[in-house]
């Protein structure tokens, strides 16, 4: 790498910041949790995961973290994805293929509208009050 000019440095910083941003959970207001049990992976959860990462990158969504978890128990509607976001109800999406994943990023995370045709349920925490 040659010597940097001021513009190079700023550009490099912005680029790297975005990459580093994905590590950080601080300041994130949304969580995407993907069920990655055997059932999830068999149903294509890995492809959905990649689609989430890719679409978030493309649309500049930086306020969400993507985490993986084990089987959520909804094996029949895998891949299952739970989305928690400030100002939105917690939602569990079922049968999330690549396209749906991209729609969730665009509609839910970015434009704050639910992807209604894939909603499986609202998590039980909503039903059971403690």
């Amino acid at each position: 790498m040659a010597k940097l000019t001021l513009d190079d440095l700023r550009k490099l910083r912005d680029e790297k910041k975005q990459a580093m941003n994905q590590r950080d959970a601080e300041g994130k207001t949304a969580q995407v949790i993907i069920g990655m049990g055997t059932c999830g992976i068999a149903a294509g959860a890995k492809a959905a995961f990649d689609a989430f990462l890719d679409e978030m990158d493309k649309t500049g969504v930086t306020h969400a973290t993507i985490k993986q978890t084990g089987c959520m128990g909804l094996c029949f509607s895998e891949p299952t994805v739970e989305v928690k976001m400030e100002g939105m109800p917690d939602v569990v999406y079922g049968n999330v293929d690549e396209d749906t994943a991209r729609r969730i990023v665009r509609d839910h995370l970015k434009n704050k509208t639910l992807v209604s045709d894939h909603i499986f349920d609202k998590p039980s925490t909503d039903i059971i009050k403690d």
């Binding site: 010597k3 440095l9 910083r13 580093m20 959970a25």
Partner: protein, 595 residues
């Protein structure tokens, strides 16, 4: 393609020594073997601070905090967590008080009261990759200084921030820079004091290992401010990892044109070189340090003139400690106002402490100035190991003193520590319980300063040795009542007449322990007793009637001085006994008396 997981592995010296390097290699191999090296990025980081629990592995973005991870755990972490998304429960940190897993790192008791400015990038970035530093606003402060601020603006900002030297004495950093800036000279120098020699202290090493670029950036900013084109980092050769990472960082910064000629295309040029010290405590004293850089024997010279005016090769030189430097970029980026909103009236910002000794969570911590010792020891440190009562905390190393239980609620800043006879120092904090003998501790520090004295001035050379001899006599039960006065007199003389800080502060541990633990001194001198049971020459071990003849003591005795038949009471041969106390700790029947 972005990664799904990030595996942060601590590779600070502490974790390295418990095989973090091997763990890193194993994780790397396992990721490849499982075919997921594209999905998870393995990141080498600096110190997490929680050294007690090392080696530490943190998985992001889900913030799983694995502790005491062994190289052989790599397979399970990759197979379970990375591939299947199931955290490995047995490795997750659990709070000792509740046995629960904290939801995220910030919720761990050890981290909750911390505030990281100096350590902001430690354990967050890979210190060997400059891009990661840049992504965390690295070199942004240098950029701001060069393109938006005049040298006077920078100086004013540093002055307004209220930053004081973290090397110990707490001299205002802006004022120091101002002296150098104000002198006309054809050449000026910037020096980083990385000669960390206090027993028990390792914060400077951790900063250099975990975030070397922050120090380079700060030194360049100082160069721009005072008009210097050359910087030196004086570091002791005992810190090989820090040296490697600094060399790498300097090479990367030069390649990017962030050091060297015409930085970022401006007409400002600044270069940094390392100078390795042989590890002499006195070389932490600024004039001795400069002599050592010049290739002379590291001995102090009288001040004034101060190095800020007449330093390296007679030229004006700004010399600051590693921790002081690490504060500079943040101050410029976030502003003086932000910085001095943290801390106390007279001491702004945070302080890094190396918390060691008889404490549950030993490690590297950073807290806002004004945090109390109680918060540090009981909230962050998790209390005294083994639940014993707290006796004292030694701060400031051989130049400092002890803080006793009555001062647990004193807010820690430069002035209040000074007022209770201790000092901030560079930040070693050694916690002691009732099993520690204060005479023994004081003797240890004095032995250290006597060894490390350069011998140039008589008060330090002769005074230190004499004090040590007196303490040695007291600890052997041969002390006299007059000794206390003698120690005081010599101490005062050393404080007044020694040439440099080493000699001036060497009596501090003695003065401080004599003030707060006079009873203990008297017990040694008058009653020939060591209340903590530490001073061997005053101890004797004997076996009482509780003995059931289990032979455990006889088997553990290294000099075979315990005799007796099985199931019969045993006897210790007092002439042969070396008073190691092994039998005392081994006996399950409280059959051994220590007196």
């Amino acid at each position: 393609m972005a990664y799904k997981n990030y595996i942060m592995v601590c590779t600070g010296t502490g974790c390295e020594s418990s095989k973090a390097g091997q763990l890193y290699e194993n994780l790397n191999a396992e990721l490849k073997a499982a075919g997921v090296e594209e999905e998870a990025q393995l990141v080498k980081t600096g110190c997490f601070g929680f050294c007690e629990q090392g080696p530490i592995v943190k998985i992001l973005p889900d913030e799983t905090f694995y502790v005491k991870v062994k190289p052989e755990d790599a397979k399970e972490i990759v197979a379970e967590h990375i591939v299947k998304g199931r955290p490995v429960d047995r490795l997750i940190y659990k709070e000792p008080s509740s046995d629960k897993t904290p939801v995220d790192t910030d919720n761990i008791g050890f981290y909750r009261k911390q505030f990281r400015i100096v350590l902001r990038n430690c354990a967050v970035i890979n210190p060997e990759i400059i891009d990661e530093y840049i992504a965390r606003d690295g070199y942004g402060a240098l950029e701001k200084a060069l393109f938006e601020m005049s040298p006077d603006d920078v100086l004013q900002e540093i002055k307004d921030s209220g930053l004081r030297g973290r090397g110990g004495a707490g001299f205002p950093t802006g004022t120091k820079w101002g002296f150098t800036k104000g002198v006309e000279a054809d050449q000026k120098y910037i020096v980083c004091n990385a000669d960390e020699g206090d027993p028990g202290a390792y914060m400077d090493r951790s900063v250099l290992e975990g975030d070397p670029h922050s120090v380079l950036e700060a030194m360049a900013i100082a160069g721009y401010t005072v008009g210097a084109s050359k910087g030196f980092i004086y570091i002791r050769a005992e810190y090989p990892l820090a040296i490697d990472r600094l060399n790498l960082a300097i090479a990367q910064a030069k390649e990017y044109g962030l050091l060297g000629d015409n930085i970022l295309g401006t007409d400002f040029s600044f270069d940094i070189e390392l100078r390795l010290g042989a590890g002499a405590f006195v070389c932490g004293e600024e004039t001795a340090l400069l002599a050592s850089i010049e290739g002379k024997r590291g001995m102090p010279i009288p001040r004034p003139p101060f190095p800020a005016v007449k330093g390296l090769w007679g030229k004006p030189t700004v010399i600051n400690n590693v921790e002081t430097w690490a504060n500079i970029p943040v101050i410029l980026l976030k502003g003086a106002k932000w910085f001095n909103s943290i801390g106390t009236e007279t001491s702004k910002g945070t302080k890094v402490f190396a918390l060691t000794g008889k404490i549950n969570n030993s490690g590297l911590i950073e807290v806002p100035m004004g945090t109390t010792l109680r918060e540090i020891i009981f909230d962050i440190g998790g209390g005294i190991a083994g639940g014993k009562p707290f006796k004292a905390a030694q701060t400031g190393g051989p130049s400092g003193g002890c803080i006793t239980p009555q001062f647990l609620d004193t807010p820690i800043d430069y002035e209040s520590l000074m007022s209770i006879g201790s000092m901030m120092g560079s930040g070693g904090m050694i916690v002691m319980d009732e099993d520690d003998c204060m005479i023994d501790v004081t003797k240890f520090y004095l032995e250290f300063t006597v060894d490390e004295s350069c011998g140039k001035c008589a008060p330090c050379r002769i005074g230190g040795r004499t004090c040590y001899n007196i303490l040695d006599r007291i600890s052997k039960g041969k002390g006299e009542v007059e000794d206390l006065q003698k120690l005081k007199d010599i101490g005062h003389a050393m404080r007044k007449a020694s040439l440099c800080g080493l000699g001036q502060t060497a009596p501090n541990p003695v003065m401080s322990t004599m003030k707060y633990f006079e009873d203990e001194y008297k017990a040694h001198i008058e009653d020939n007793k060591c209340p903590a049971g530490k001073c061997k020459d005053m101890l004797s071990f004997s076996i009482n009637d509780n003995c059931v003849g289990c032979t455990a003591c006889a088997r553990v005795c290294p000099v075979s001085c315990i005799s007796g038949e099985v199931k019969q009471k045993h006897v210790i041969d007092q002439d042969k006994c070396i008073k190691c106390g092994q039998c005392f700790t081994k006996c399950k029947f409280e059959a051994i008396d220590r007196a």
